[in-house]
């Protein structure tokens, strides 16, 4: 079973309708008679949301519908802010890991965004509007990362979230030390192979970056002072992003599991004067929640994943609640295109495990990840002035029975369940027509082939020209002349 086969059919079926949908959407929209889960200021029953130029212009019980506005009647259904997934690997072309080196800060996920990745649509249909697309965890310091909006149908250049600070992936523990997939001889073991080495790899890289930054700062200072005949320092693509980290221009998202390694990175960050923006997975975060809170880092975790590896054996589903209780800004993420389809449900588990309030639970997949990504001035709650990134559910999204009906990004409908359903029959017909055409072509070819096999000698050369390629020919009758080279090359395509 694989969905990796990207065929024309798949693209046809998934791309066209929704892309057209988004482009044709008007500038002023009102969602009326909705149960609005604002996340920031409670629930509004029978409320309306006015959307103008992609932004939320008004929210409340008494919102006037401007003339000419498109009206979406929610008929009491639930509207929540679009889900922000703080740990995703969707829309990446190929591998998410550059694992050959222990520090791969020179590579950037931004460069390999694939807007045709069908899971963008799958996740969108699960209410997700923003994703923090991360490099993998093969290295203590991994590649650069990018925050995207799930603007399905738009080119790669229109996916990145405008103005969101870029990030970089760090990774601690079993993955960067390659415990579970250690290269086999003759491939040498890569340094680091222990948590001790992971720390030293990071310290070493930042020691270099600090020197590098100093060299550049000196150069800039002397240049500004008007010094002549200066030679610029050599640009180092590996160290540039680390300098940005120290300057607060790039967020660190650190994959981690055990409490000791989390405390280690907090120490190293203090040493080099930077902040860890989020601890990702952070499955033992509950053991040191006070220390994480004091460091100012956020915690982005799973709802209930555990036991898939040694360092995940102390994972408990109460992690989110326990960290939140001690003042950590907590998000629940997916790390997986499938899991992202029901992050609203995963958030509900924080109510079951640890008793957080429903609004706090919803925050864990909306406002909190937005805060963690520094985009909470733009998304994460239903407030005037924010982007109209919204998801409409037929039931409470914290219920297992809630199904996303419409998902808007920048005020435009990018997913509409009823539209998806009505398109299916037509797409099925179109697909069948293409399959039939393909089958018929194959049959015609076969017939021609059979006919040629039966033809008298003189026709053999002519007919064999129709054959696809020499390898697929049936054995020729003994008394038939082999086809001539010219005829074959001419007939090599259909």
């Amino acid at each position: 079973m694989s969905r990796k086969i990207i065929g024309t059919l798949a693209l046809l079926s998934a791309l066209i309708p929704t892309a057209a949908l988004a482009q044709s959407f008007p500038e002023v929209t009102v969602i009326r008679d909705a149960t609005i889960l604002t996340v920031s200021h409670g629930t509004i029953q029978h409320g309306s949301i006015l959307i103008r130029d992609g932004k939320i212009a008004a929210v409340g019980k008494d919102v006037a519908i401007p003339a000419g506005a498109t009206v979406i009647d929610a008929a009491g259904e639930f509207v929540m802010p679009g889900i922000v997934d703080c740990h995703s690997h969707i829309a990446v072309d190929g591998s998410v890991n550059e694992g050959g080196v222990a520090v791969s800060s020179m590579v950037n996920i931004h460069d390999v965004l694939n807007p045709d990745d069908i899971v963008i649509y799958d996740d969108l249909a699960g209410g997700v509007t923003v994703a923090n697309v991360l490099h993998g965890s093969a290295n203590p310091i991994g590649g650069q990362t990018v925050v995207i909006k799930l603007r399905w149908g738009k080119p790669a250049s229109e996916l990145p979230f405008e103005g969101a600070l870029p990030g970089i992936k760090f990774a601690l523990g079993e993955n960067p030390k390659e415990s579970n997939f250690r290269p086999q001889p003759p491939t040498p073991i890569r340094y680091p192979a222990s948590r001790m080495g992971v720390e030293e790899t990071i310290r070493q890289a930042f020691t270099e970056a600090r020197e590098y930054k100093k060299t550049w700062d000196d150069y800039d200072r002397r240049k500004a002072a008007g010094e002549a005949n200066l030679i610029a320092p050599r640009r180092d693509l590996k160290l540039d992003p680390l300098v940005e980290v120290m300057e607060g221009k790039r967020y660190v998202h650190a994959h981690c599991y055990r409490q000791d390694e989390i405390l280690m990175l907090i120490r190293v960050a203090n040493e080099f004067g930077f902040k860890v923006r989020t601890f990702q997975h952070v499955l033992e975060g509950y053991k040191i929640a006070d220390e994480i809170a004091a460091s100012g880092a956020g915690g982005s975790t799973f709802s209930d994943w555990w036991a898939y590896k040694m360092e995940a054996f102390d994972a408990i589903p109460y992690n989110a609640a326990l960290m939140a209780e001690r003042g950590v800004v907590v998000s629940i993420n997916s790390d997986d295109a499938e899991e992202a389809r029901h992050l609203n449900q995963e958030a509900a588990k924080a109510i079951k495990y640890g008793g957080v309030s429903p609004e706090e639970a919803l925050k864990m997949v909306t406002l909190n990840p937005a805060i963690q990504l520094g985009i909470d001035n733009r998304v994460g709650s239903i407030d005037v002035g924010k982007d109209a990134d919204l998801a409409i559910y037929n039931h409470d999204p914290l219920s297992v029975y809630g199904v996303a009906q419409k998902v808007l990004i920048d005020g435009q409908v990018y997913f509409d369940r009823s539209h998806d359903l009505t398109q299916r029959a037509a797409l099925e017909r179109e697909k069948q027509a293409l399959v039939d055409k393909e089958k018929k072509a194959a049959e015609d070819e076969k017939k021609a082939e059979e006919k040629s096999a039966k033809e008298p000698d003189q026709a053999a050369t002519k007919k064999s020209a129709k054959k696809k390629n020499p390898d697929q020919r049936k054995p020729e009758p003994i008394n038939t002349e082999p086809p001539q080279a010219g005829a074959l090359s001419e007939g090599g395509t259909r």
Binding site: D304, E338, E339, Q345, V403
Partner: protein
């Protein structure tokens, strides 16, 4: 990210876990041996109360054998359900549980897990999930189920009272592969000091991983699909199917010899002996197959061989509804929480398929196909309800239906007098995410809901604030 097309897709969620790392977990090598890791869970054994008679009163009881009973009483005596009904008086010797406002359901049944066979996916030394070689009909899952596995109490806390442990489910030691005829699946209760106390039936089905005819295989190194020529795949497939036929033929001959001859005329063969109930159609074969082609081929094979088939996985069962209905084959479905199996399938196919199959008259059950995620069983069912399955059918698909498939419905699956008292009491809809489990009975014993996760929660919740440094 990590859609694999391994020959046998035994577990849906572990595949996705690969992307946690975004890494390629090709070889699992042991670098540490966490001795007694599992054995530290003191909560794995049930708390035996002094009384063996219970009356649960004032509850809304979903018996699944008739209409819902409002304000009902359930009497449990000596491990069994003694009585159930509205307005029944609690027997004088019963310990009474006031369940006003609570709901009672049959204990949940996850029919495809690796429970007790594996503790930590990537720690090889904790895996007993599969054997080497293609034909191991004689091995029995219950033999290797660790009664002290931490997973048991964790899973129990999600209302799951009994499971099937099946060879080849969960993380697999890459050296073994697990084979075609992988072994006998065991039905076990999730409480007991020893396997003797836990086992419901050590041999309820024969696991068969149907050889796939897929030419595309996901290559984890390049994160892309590799294609093999059809002829090559077909040749390997034909050989496997022929071998399988040979095994079954030999088992039939062996059965004849056992029936008619004396031990003097045949040599005892444990593998063939294990296949006798299978070829006689007495024991079902749990056939793992996902694509329409593999489903067709395996159904045709089982029909020809007169095997009693249960389909496991069935990602594309919706394409073969007519055939499955016609041959009366029940399906244990891949989790609803999975991506569409092909890019051009509707985005909600995994969630709508259960309703589609039920509408076609095909019995279904949900399963985790996993161990770590067994506790998501009711969420799987709830998702199917969100996409059109009736709640009543969803409840049966996590209780009664699988019990029927494995011949356990005389003992389990509903709340009826005489059945084993595997029962749960919740504070609301058992399919809902926020619902809390209040009481759980296994074999009529009020069983602890404590588990390692809860213990850590309580322990770290009490951690004093560290002093400022």
């Amino acid at each position: 990210m990590s859609r694999t097309s391994s020959m046998r897709r035994r577990s849906v969620i572990p595949a996705s876990l690969i992307s946690i790392a975004g890494l390629l977990l090709v070889i699992v090598t042991p670098f540490f041996t966490p001795a007694n890791l599992a054995a530290q869970d003191s909560s794995a054994v049930p708390v035996s109360a002094s009384s063996n008679v219970y009356a649960i009163t004032g509850a809304k009881i979903y018996t699944l054998a008739g209409p819902v009973i409002e304000n009902g009483t359930l009497v449990i005596r000596d491990g069994k359900i003694a009585a159930v009904g509205a307005g029944l008086a609690a027997p004088p010797d019963a310990q009474v549980i006031d369940a006003k406002g609570l709901e009672v359901y049959p204990g949940l049944f996850d029919p495809i897990t690796g429970m007790g066979l594996g503790e930590i996916d990537q720690v090889l030394s904790t895996q007993d999930t599969a054997e080497t070689g293609d034909y191991n009909p004689d091995i029995v899952a219950a033999t290797a189920v660790n009664p002290s596995s931490v997973h048991i109490a964790v899973t129990r806390a999600a209302g799951i009272t009994h499971v099937l442990s099946v060879e080849g489910v969960g993380a697999i030691d890459s050296r073994s592969g697990g084979g075609l005829l992988a072994g006998q699946a065991s039905a076990i209760n999730l409480a007991g000091w020893t396997m003797k106390e836990m086992a419901i039936d050590k041999s309820v089905a024969m696991a068969l991983y149907w050889p796939s005819l897929s030419t595309a295989e996901y290559d984890e190194v390049s994160s892309s699909l590799k294609h093999k020529p059809y002829t090559e795949v077909k040749e390997a497939y034909d050989k496997q199917v022929n071998d399988l036929s040979d095994w079954l033929d030999r088992a039939r001959h062996y059965a004849q010899a056992v029936e008619q001859g004396s031990p003097a005329v045949y040599q005892r063969d444990l593998k063939l002996e294990a296949l006798i109930p299978v070829v006689q159609g007495k024991q079902p074969v749990l056939v793992f197959a996902d694509t329409a082609r593999d489903i067709r081929n395996s159904v045709e094979f089982c029909a020809k061989q007169n095997l009693k088939m249960i389909l496991a996985g069935g990602a594309e069962a919706w394409k073969e509804k007519i055939l499955l209905k016609q041959k009366n084959i029940p399906v244990i479905l891949d989790p609803t929480m999975r991506l569409p199996d092909e890019e051009d399938f509707p985005y909600d196919k995994p969630m709508t398929q259960p309703a589609e199959l039920v509408a076609a008259g095909i019995p279904i059950a949900f399963a985790s196909f996993n161990t770590d995620f067994s506790r998501r069983l009711s969420q799987q069912a709830g998702n199917a309800v969100a996409y059109g399955l009736s709640r009543d059918e969803a409840l049966k698909a996590i209780t009664l239906n699988a019990a029927r498939m494995f011949g356990l419905a005389d003992r389990l699956g509903t709340i009826e007098p005489g059945k084993m008292a595997n029962v749960i009491v919740t504070d609301g809809d058992v399919l809902e995410l926020r619902t809390q489990l209040r009481y759980l009975f296994i074999q009529g014993k009020l069983t602890s809901l404590d588990n390692r996760h809860l213990q850590f929660y309580e322990m770290y919740r009490k951690r004093p604030k560290p002093s400022a440094q």
